[in-house]
Symmetry: C2
Subunit: 369 residues, 2 copies
């Protein structure tokens, strides 16, 4: 194998596939990055069996071939190379790869390419196209609501539900639920799959092109692939039945409050300084006609209270929440004002932006004595 | 106690004294910040017995008094207060302190002020004045060379040596030694004290006023104090005999090399990517008439080599060093070029900036087979 390519492109490609390199690999080969040089193209691949990423860049190939290098060292070395171009050639004497750039030369030990589980194109029947910025928005507005508890796998992923041109992402840990809706240009049919939250977070990090571009999504019963620009990503899906989230959303509310997002968010953050070292991080909200009094109390530290102006229609109400569940959603709302909708101190409430009916968040109160 | 003050000033004062709040206090009271309100002044203090810091700010005192608050919570609370002013008043009913700013109100549990070991002004015979930026430069150019090994205390501190108008800071871990010299405006006499590196680093962080200002230094046999602006810092000194560092500095060299600082630094950083996971992080330098070849080798990873242009007078030489000891000094040299001066592969070398004879660094080579 012998090729040369631009350093910046190689650095970028290594950064992308690096996210699929396992830090605790099941097998040594999975700690590596697979390089395949062919047809004026260098392809890099990495996989930990859950997530696989491929990235292709232009290269001048003098001799085609494939090899695997330690992901950790390859990334650190290419990042720091001094030149604009990089030349990479396998040594005939030993199992090393010679990397040359300007005055610097590295000989890195290689692993046998034949042992690497090369990624394959997913060949599912179901395929659709979505803009990368739209998909990123679906992820960012919901993924934080996923559970971290591996004992109940369906809650550790986000539900992607497509019904004709409607696409929704739903995430819940059973105490709170986030739903974001967007639209597809053209799709007929239904999809309902659960994508691991770890994969969703990586996708949101990788899909950051300056110009919005299309992502081709392809899925089978237990796998999903994403193709965009020069990148191909394949991931397992979470199997199991996602709960019927529509049943969780209250149909009507007896109290409707309008709040300034920033003022409410800052006040909740401040008051929760006192509660957050407690087991449940409980803040109390006392809504009256003109304002909400936010309070917390921790016998070891002290107490806090702060009042924020509101517009209320309906009944006045006292209710308590896990402060983190409240601040999590407020950080994700871009609108100046929110609706906070309530029924009783024990029934689920809804928080949503005033000017965007495609986003909703359901939060269960904490029962306090 | 009842007073009000500007929030920004209070935040700044808390940040300064916070550095002396122990994270693992010997006694609960040492986890606190002492507040003392008197004569239009609020004084904050914290100490872990090794280091004590006091900071005074202007305040409107309605009722003088003193109290101690949990350092951790007080800092987090004041940092996030919403208003420009803060009002603080002790509650008569319980042991709490009420902090009010704009719409927010906190009641924090307090600790009894009588238990706090209040700082005293150090009354040593030896006192001198130094510019804060000069003192910071002495620290920054040397403190990194201190040892972390508590078993040999004298090497965990920096030697401050004043001889009339010459002031030097010297630090060593016995494998490398950094010396920086500056000048005092007016002082007659001699001082030789060892200041703990932890304290030196805190001082460099605190002494960052925009306009250079004077620091009054006062010392006794085992304590030192620094007074500047509204801040007073008192610290223990390290007792013991600092080694005679002058004996370590070679009087002459048989090889004198001139190198570009950045080019050499980047090359050493790159080559050491391969060596740094090894036990001794060894890089080899082969100096010939025109260039130095920097190499490293790790049987588990591979090898690296890079050549940098040099100007050499004297004998050609092969020598090996701990790469970290080389990059540490290069990061601290602001000059475009350095002198690298050598005798034999086993004798100490010197690295120093070409245009600044007040800074010197002695480094012991690694013996390789």
């Amino acid at each position: 194998m012998k090729f040369s390519c631009k350093k910046e492109q190689l650095v970028h490609a290594v950064q992308i596939v690096q996210k699929a390199v396992s830090s605790k690999p099941q097998m040594p080969i999975l700690s590596g990055i697979y390089l395949n040089a062919f047809d004026n193209t260098l392809e890099l691949q990495a996989t930990d069996y859950e997530l696989g990423i491929s990235c292709k860049i232009d290269a001048q190939i003098d001799e085609p071939g494939a090899i695997v290098l330690s992901g950790r060292y390859f990334q650190e070395v290419v990042r720091r190379l001094p030149g604009e171009m990089v030349e990479i050639v396998t040594s005939r004497e030993d199992h090393t790869l010679k990397i040359t750039s300007n005055t610097a030369q590295f000989n890195l030990l290689s692993l046998p390419a034949a042992e690497f589980p090369v990624l394959y194109p997913l060949d599912g029947n179901t395929t659709f196209k979505i803009r990368d910025n739209v998909f990123r928005e679906l992820i960012k507005k919901t993924v934080f609501a996923c559970s971290q508890d591996e004992a109940r796998p369906v809650f550790t992923g986000g539900l992607l539900e497509v019904t004709n041109s409607d696409v929704m992402m739903v995430a819940t840990n059973t105490h709170r639920l986030a739903i974001k809706k967007e639209y597809l240009d053209e799709f007929n049919g239904e999809i309902k799959i659960i994508i691991p939250s770890k994969i969703l977070m990586e996708l949101a990090r990788i899909m950051v092109a300056e110009v919005p571009s299309d992502v081709i999504v392809n899925c089978t019963r237990n796998q999903i692939s994403f193709t965009f620009d020069n990148v191909y990503i394949i991931s397992r899906l979470i199997e199991g039945q996602f709960p019927d989230y529509k049943r969780v959303i209250p149909e009507a509310f007896t109290t409707e409050i309008i709040l300034n997002t920033d003022a409410f968010s800052s006040a909740v953050e401040r008051v929760s300084l006192i509660s957050r070292s407690g087991d449940y991080n409980v803040i109390r909200l006392s809504f009256n006609e003109k304002s909400v009094m936010i309070t917390s109390n921790n016998p070891d530290i002290g107490k806090a209270e702060e009042s924020v102006d509101i517009t209320l229609s309906g009944k006045e109400l006292d209710i308590a929440f896990n402060a983190k569940y409240v601040t999590d959603i407020l950080k994700n709302i871009d609108s100046e004002k929110i609706y906070f909708s309530l029924n009783t101190p024990l029934s689920p409430a809804s928080i949503r932006p005033c000017d965007d009916d495609t986003y909703n968040y359901i939060i269960t109160p904490v029962r306090t004595s």
